[in-house]
Amino acid sequence: MATSEENDLIGYDPLAWMDGDVDKVEETIDKVYLDSNKPEDAGCDNDVTMTDDYSDDLIENAEEIVILNITKENELVIDEIDSDSVFIEERGDDSMDGEGNWAKIDALDGSGAVAEDSVSEEMDGSQIDLDSTLTIQNVVKLHEKLKNLLGAYDEIEINASDVSSIDTATLQLLVSLKKDEVKLQKKATIIYPSPRFVESAKLLGLLDVLGVHDE
């Protein structure tokens, strides 16, 4: 396995999901490409023309099947500095910044105050509300939010009730967070996951690791 020092020009490993359970992917290809009739759930009627809908269907499905975890080298180490602050650094290379990594934070004031941005509409103490649309464009900001919140609280809640679209980069971030809970001696709970959130997590076989239930 490569070390993070060796890979310090690459923020995270998009292929990390391949080391996980890849047998849980759902299949629609047989219906879309091997049957003569397009299925009802494929996004359009059977009698419509074969347009970009089909391409998009495959692309969208493919996009949902990525990234189940972050490389071992990007796992977190947390050291208590004092009762009011924590210091999180990336194992093996503390020179890296926060671009996609759990990098360094320190000297939080314990109040949980974090900078305002567009990632979460609302933060209520140890709770963070996820936006409706979560994309790679905002994942760095979300990462910062979560990192800061984790620095301030031992237990945080991530409200996923409004999520209507979530990409794999964001899911990777959440998986990485969940996987590092024990090491961090923190607890992050995803609460009120929306049907879309659950569907995406289920598609990727991430329900368990995210602690989300398909009800």
Binding site: S36, Y54, I65
Partner: protein
């Protein structure tokens, strides 16, 4: 020998699919092995790269639409190397209306019991994830993925592997999947880091020779020549000759695991 059908695929553009197809096919053909290259990209760049610029000729499009047989579409472009162009109707196949036959097996059906005198059929796929790529995956036995050495190529590969795994599950068979490092810049540190990550996930699946990015490889398509003709003694020509041996002999890099 049974013909081996290889899809050269990566939905990300600019990773070197067509360059790999044209030059690898020619390098293999130079060894006396019979190769057919299919241009499944409606842009028709493979044909241009091999010097076929005639407009309006039918190609794999007509075979997929059952208007012609595959053997009628063959163009001999080099010794031991023949080409099937994309054809002007190929892009229309993406817009086929629903009918009685499954849309994903058009290429497989067209190739059925065809080209049995060939050793290899290489399919140069378009940079997309649509119906044409689905046809290539369903028709192919093997997959060769050209990979550029940058982060976005890794991200694209992640998507592609998800697609391939879905197809494997749906088709109930595993593809033999190999990667080739194309457009490799040895003087860029990120190149080795991308390769390092790939070796972690694809141990013994990356062909041993990396194709270094050179200006010559960018130049030769405009002359309708492969690198073996355009600059036969160049390092790029050596790279592709070496890659051909790697491919035929399963010579791969060892992984990091």
């Amino acid at each position: 020998m049974t013909v081996r059908i290889v899809a050269i695929i990566n939905q990300k553009g600019g990773v070197g699919k067509t360059t790999t197809t044209a030059n690898l096919c020619h390098a293999i053909a130079e060894l006396g092995i019979k190769v057919t290259a299919i241009d499944l990209d409606p842009q028709g760049h493979l044909a241009v790269s091999l010097g076929v610029t005639t407009q309006g000729i039918g190609g794999i499009d007509e075979a997929m639409l059952k208007e012609k047989k595959v053997h009628q579409q063959l163009i001999s472009v080099r010794d031991n190397l023949q080409l099937i162009t994309s054809g002007s109707k190929l892009k229309e196949i993406e817009h086929l209306t629903s009918n009685s036959s499954p849309r994903g097996v058009l290429l497989k059906d067209a190739l059925h019991e065809s080209l049995n005198d060939q050793d290899f059929v290489f399919i140069d796929c378009p940079p997309s994830s649509g119906l044409l790529v689905a046809n290539a995956l369903i028709a192919a036995d093997e997959i060769l993925i050209p990979m550029a050495s940058d982060f976005l190529a890794l991200q694209g590969l992640s998507h592609l592997m998800g697609t391939i795994k879905r197809f494997e599950k749906a088709l109930k068979r595993k593809f033999k999947t190999l990667l080739v490092m194309s457009r490799y810049s040895p003087n860029r540190r990120i190149s080795s880091q991308v390769l390092n990550i790939l070796l972690t996930h694809f141990p013994e699946q990356i062909l041993a020779t990396v194709i270094r990015e050179t200006a010559l490889l960018a130049e030769c398509p405009s002359f309708g020549k492969t690198i073996l003709e355009y600059s036969p003694k160049s390092r790029s020509a050596r790279d592709f000759r070496s890659l051909a041996h790697d491919f035929l002999e399963d010579k791969v890099m060892y992984g990091n695991k």
